[in-house]
């Protein structure tokens, strides 16, 4: 999902959960988070969240901004911009300030923007 240039530009303080790793429990971070593995429980970060296309998350997720290419089963709350790429699948309610949905992305749940519910299912 991420190229070498992007990796080279990364600095310390970032959390990366790679493919082949399973996280269980309440995950909390105050920095940027990249998830490409499995997470069960809850995810909360004050920074940017990237969910790779191999990621499987069964958790309520809260982030400042998020870019999603993988699967999330749980409610997704993003304070800023949420970008759902074509391979993304969200089974749960979405709350975001700004929402971008690529063609092919799957959403099953309520979408709330600025406190207003807009739809139940989008595909």
């Amino acid at each position: 999902m991420f190229n070498k240039d992007q990796e080279a530009g990364r600095k310390g303080g970032e959390t990366i959960i790679a493919k082949g790793v399973k996280v269980e429990g309440d995950f909390v971070s105050d920095g940027n988070v990249i998830i490409e593995g499995e997470v069960n429980g809850s995810v909360k970060t004050a920074g940017h969240l990237e969910v790779g296309d191999s990621a499987k998350i069964k958790a309520d997720v809260t982030a400042s901004d998020a870019l999603v290419a993988g699967q999330i089963s749980g409610n997704l709350k993003v304070n800023g911009k949420l970008e759902l790429l074509e391979s993304s699948r969200v089974e749960g309610d979405i709350e975001a300030e700004i929402l971008s949905v690529a063609s092919g992305a799957k959403i099953n749940g309520h979408i709330t923007m600025n406190g207003k519910t807009s739809t139940e299912a989008v595909e």
Binding site: K11, G13, I16, G20, V21, D26
Partner: protein
């Protein structure tokens, strides 16, 4: 170099308006007392004298424990800076007493295995004397594993393991993987990885796991690297493993990590890598 403290123009520190003289204690590792280092040691001693920062020397031997002598010299002799003359293993031998007594650590690197000095920007041998004299002191974090301190990292080899992170969540690698817990780490040129900064009050747990990729390249193994910045973690392995703490062997199935924030005062060079 005589074995008593001396120096014509010792550098001074100003603390609370009071002028304090910096007294240096040099801890020579056993291996630097070998004949092949004789000339280089002589050059170092001459340069230290020229710079006015010569001091008392403690020579380590097979049956001589560094910490007892150093503690005595700091508490009774008034040494304010302990200089490890040797390599990473030498630093490992003095780190506990340096942190406990709150004195400054300096390093004059000799021989091989000097990664700590390299990361701190300290050149080898005689050139390190000038860095020592410039005295740019930084307060850095120190990692602790099972009650033992380390500066750089602890490497746990491939084993089935479980990691408990800050008591909040559990990380399980889906297969055998290496675990490295880093306090100070800078990837070398061409090497992947994030900088582990010893000023951030955290350790980085880095997990490298081989996983099978799908599709046509089903049998090809790819490596995923997970990085978790943490203040504390517990690693449990299913079998006893031999881990390396700053190059020193430790064995076990339980490794409890924590970080002591900014407790180590250390002399750094301009070329420090963090």
């Amino acid at each position: 170099m005589p074995t008593a403290a001396f120096g014509e123009t010792p550098p001074k520190s100003y603390v609370g308006g009071e002028i304090l003289k910096n007294m240096y204690l040099y801890v020579y590792d056993a291996f630097v007392q070998d004949h092949r280092y004789e000339k280089e040691i002589q050059k170092v001693e001459n340069r230290l004298t020229d710079l006015g920062i010569a001091g008392k020397i403690v020579r380590l031997g097979l049956f001589r424990r560094a910490d007892e002598f150093i503690r005595d010299e700091v508490e009774r002799g008034g040494a304010t800076t302990v200089v490890a003359v040797g390599n990473d293993t030498t630093v490992r031998q003095v780190i506990d007493v340096v942190v406990d007594t709150k004195v400054v650590l300096g390093i004059i690197p000799f021989g091989s295995d000097n990664q700590i000095a390299t990361l701190l920007g300290l050149p080898e041998g005689e050139a390190a004397c000038d860095v020592l004299s410039a005295r740019i002191v930084e307060n850095i974090d120190v990692g602790v594993v099972n009650g033992k301190r380390f500066i750089r990292s602890v490497s746990i080899p491939a084993a089935k393991a479980e990691i408990n992170c800050e008591g909040n969540y559990k990380v399980t690698p889906q297969g055998r993987g290496t675990i490295e817990v880093r306090n100070l780490f800078v990837p070398s040129e061409g090497e992947r990885g994030l900088i582990s900064n010893p000023l951030d009050g955290r350790l980085e747990a880095v997990l490298q796991i081989a996983t099978k990729s799908g599709g046509l390249s089903f049998w090809k193994k790819i490596h995923g690297e997970s990085v978790l910045p943490l203040k504390s973690l517990e690693v449990r392995t299913q079998e006893t493993v031999s881990a390396f703490m700053d190059g020193v062997l430790i064995e076990g199935t339980r490794f409890d990590f924590s970080v002591e924030s900014k407790v180590l005062k250390v002399v750094t060079g301009k070329g420090r890598m963090f």
